[in-house]
Assembly symmetry: C2
Homo-oligomer: 202 residues x 2
DNA sequence: CCTTTTCTGTATCGATCGCTACAGAATCAG
DNA sequence: CTGATTCTGTAGCGATCGATACAGAAAAGG
């Protein structure tokens, strides 16, 4: 038995997996994990159910990969925000990025990590827990960044990085809910601006 | 044909509709509209599907009545908050009430109005829109209350009631998402306290 | 060419979805 | 008592759920 890296035999795949995953992500983003049926997904992906299962495993695995794609695409403002030089810059980039991403006209409104599966039936429990961990992980990374700001003297020593991170992410999740409710971009940007104006990150 | 008010004939109902509705509300609160199956609901209500349909109409009507019961019960902190004498008191009562209600140990975590149907498939679109309207209605009532505070001189004349209301409700929704993610009461109360400390409602 | 391998759609699986037809049970009017 | 009315659970409706068995199609290796 030889393990060969390339030159796979057999019929080549007739669709682009990355483009199919992008379309699946958009369906999950708009309808949530349980609200997106296999028929919805495969129709948007332009393939049959058989091809989807062969390429992605099952619905839950497809969602996991779609969430990764969301994190690296529409949700990538978070990693960029963490690279801002100051804590205030980080918070500003997170809130501005949230407003922009959750109210983009050509995309579903809201945040996939929030509305993907906030509650589920029994069959969706693992995805629900996955998204809760995704949100808490985001908060943890913000906290670690703020801790570094305290260590560097960017934030005063009595600042509480955990509290600040929880506050910023709470606002971000709230903005996502408002966006899902149809609230417009301008109004949410004003909320973000006001929250940053009156917060001791200055 | 005479219309008589009382003394209805026929077999009397064998269960308490209010208690059954309370139990249905808890199931919807925990699992969401689409995540709560008829079997889940009727099992928790202690009745058969036939009895549920006779008493409440269908699943969507049951949800509407459960949401009303939520508003009058666990969510009633909002109406009480609006009666606080000052705008700061209103905001404080809303955020404290949100923290308490979304992290009560004996109840599902989070807010039914947020996680009941943030996204749905096609069959749940009306319920999703109903909840979006429910959230926006809550924001509007806070805005009207803050407008009154401006008119009364409780808030400075340059204050923006719409912005303040959107900010408070955004925080409230964000707290609800955090609670649904398993974040504890004490940590969320600190967020609420910090947000109220550094906000120009003083 | 032929064999092997992998991808393709069709057609369908058992399970569950929301919902209801039906008949028996329990009450009131007379 | 009888008849009318309403509630009750059982049993099952058609539709849809996620997931698959199957056979044909399209490539590479020999």
């Amino acid at each position: 038995m030889r393990t060969r890296q390339s030159g796979r035999t057999g019929r080549p795949r007739g669709f682009d997996t990355e483009e199919a995953l992008e379309r699946a992500m958009l369906v999950f983003w708009e309808h949530g994990y349980e609200g997106a049926s296999l028929a919805d997904l495969t129709s948007a992906m332009g393939i049959s159910a058989t091809s989807m299962y062969a390429a992605f495993g099952n619905k839950e695995e497809l969602f996991r990969k779609a969430l990764e794609r969301y994190s690296d695409g529409p949700g990538s403002y978070l990693v960029r925000a963490l690279e801002e030089p100051t804590a205030l810059g980080v918070a500003t980039a997170i809130l501005n990025g949230t407003v922009r991403t959750t109210t983009r006209p050509a995309h579903p409104h809201g945040c996939m990590g929030v509305q993907g599966a906030l509650t589920t039936g029994d069959s969706g429990r693992e995805v629900r827990d996955l998204l809760a961990a995704w949100r808490n992980n985001g908060c943890s990374r913000v906290r670690e960044r703020f801790q570094r700001a305290v260590d560097d003297g960017d934030l005063p020593s009595q600042a509480d990085p955990g509290l600040l991170a929880r506050y910023v992410t709470t606002l971000s999740f709230g903005i996502a809910v408002q966006a899902a409710s149809g609230v417009g971009r301008d109004e949410l940007q004003e909320v973000a601006d006001a929250a940053l104006r009156d917060w001791p990150l200055h």
